[in-house]
């Protein structure tokens, strides 16, 4: 979910001076009665997490001064923990980190204005979870493989080493490009095979940018709850197949962060406040 304009103005005000009465929103659920989920709110104040309802929809919130929260690991974990707790009972539309409304009424206004879109998404997400998959390789190993197994690369490297070429500078550049291309193709092949293995168990998938130089896949899969075990089995199977070459890291279940696409265009002045 993308909040196109952050609800606050830019430039954090120190918490002591910032107006209180803001509502940090973690997620949206379908719920008609008021609920409380425990003292686990963001900001280190042990604030109660509770709901603000309107028309059968509820925003899960905690009180906060109107500030910009740093996306630290601690804050992110707090955000995640609240959503996880709610996820035990409800289908959830997760908010991205840091969404704050200035007042209780702003939250109600938001629920009113986006009711149809929210209901639509909730309905689509019922019974579905997101599973994450990160796949790593060892670039050194792959580099060696690529150099040994690709005829033209091996030959060019050989010629550079034995100084048979008049200009080794350009040859080295060319070698670098060839190696990069070969490694990229190798990664693509692995990724294709992994998708082929998992395709049958997932409703949808989304690529995110791999992090660091060891990662070749950083993907999220939308899976029906009842198919989660089957999906997991397929991951195990392909992990076994590539044991020693690739390392698989599964995460989740998550709420559908990567599959919810509501764009909130809010007034700069502050969420209709």
């Amino acid at each position: 979910m993308a909040v196109e304009e952050q609800i606050l103005g830019y430039g954090a005000e120190p918490p002591e001076r910032a107006p209180a009465g803001g509502k940090y929103v973690y997620c949206i659920i379908e719920c008609a009665e008021p609920r409380a989920f425990g003292r686990m709110g963001i900001g280190g104040r042990n604030d109660e997490v509770y709901t603000i309802e309107h028309g059968g929809l509820a925003a899960v919130v905690s009180d906060t001064p109107v500030v910009v929260y740093d996306p630290t690991r601690e804050n992110a974990l707090t955000h995640e923990h609240v959503i996880d707790t709610v996820l035990q009972e409800f289908t959830v539309i997760p908010m991205s980190f840091g969404a704050i409304f200035r007042t209780h009424d702003d939250v109600v206004e938001f629920l009113k204005d986006t009711a149809d879109a929210l209901r639509d998404v909730l309905q689509k997400m019922t019974g579905k979870i997101e599973l994450g998959l990160k796949v790593n390789w060892d670039p050194e190993t792959v580099l060696k493989q690529v150099e040994d197994e690709t005829e033209e690369i091996r030959r060019l490297k050989e010629e550079i080493l034995t100084n048979r070429l008049t200009s080794t500078y350009f040859a080295r550049m060319q070698l670098g490009r060839m190696v990069e291309r070969a490694m990229s193709e190798a990664a693509d092949t692995y990724v294709r095979e992994i998708y082929d293995q998992l395709r049958g168990c997932a409703i949808a998938s989304r690529h995110n940018k791999p992090i660091g130089d060891k990662m070749i896949l950083n993907a999220a899969f939308l899976v029906e709850r009842e198919r989660a075990a089957a999906f997991d089995e397929q991951v195990q199977e392909i992990a076994r197949k590539y044991q020693g070459q690739l390392r698989f890291q599964s995460t989740g279940p998550w709420p559908p962060y990567n599959f919810v696409n509501i764009h909130l265009k809010l007034e700069r002045a502050g969420a209709g406040g």
Partner: protein
């Protein structure tokens, strides 16, 4: 340090050189203030923690520095009227 060099008072004999320096200054600013890049750095840092390459303390120290840069980047963009 690049920024300091570029903003030091210097009289430039050639217009062309001044133009190039200005471009470099803009690129340097963009890189420093690019929130997406800073986010990527943060992700990389978290990965290193997960992989056990750095300690919790090292992580927290580096994270604090990144948070400062994020706030600077936000303030910078606000000042320039960027969206």
């Amino acid at each position: 340090m690049l920024l300091q060099l570029l903003t030091a008072p210097v009289s430039l004999p050639v217009f062309g050189l001044r133009f190039i320096l200005q471009q470099l200054l803009e690129v340097a600013e963009q890189e420093l203030m690019d929130v997406d890049r800073i986010h990527e750095e943060l992700l990389l840092l978290q990965l290193r923690l997960e992989e056990g390459e750095i300690t919790e303390k090292e992580y927290l120290d580096a994270e604090a520095a990144i948070m400062l840069r994020l706030r600077e980047a936000r303030a910078y963009r606000a000042a320039r009227g960027a969206g």
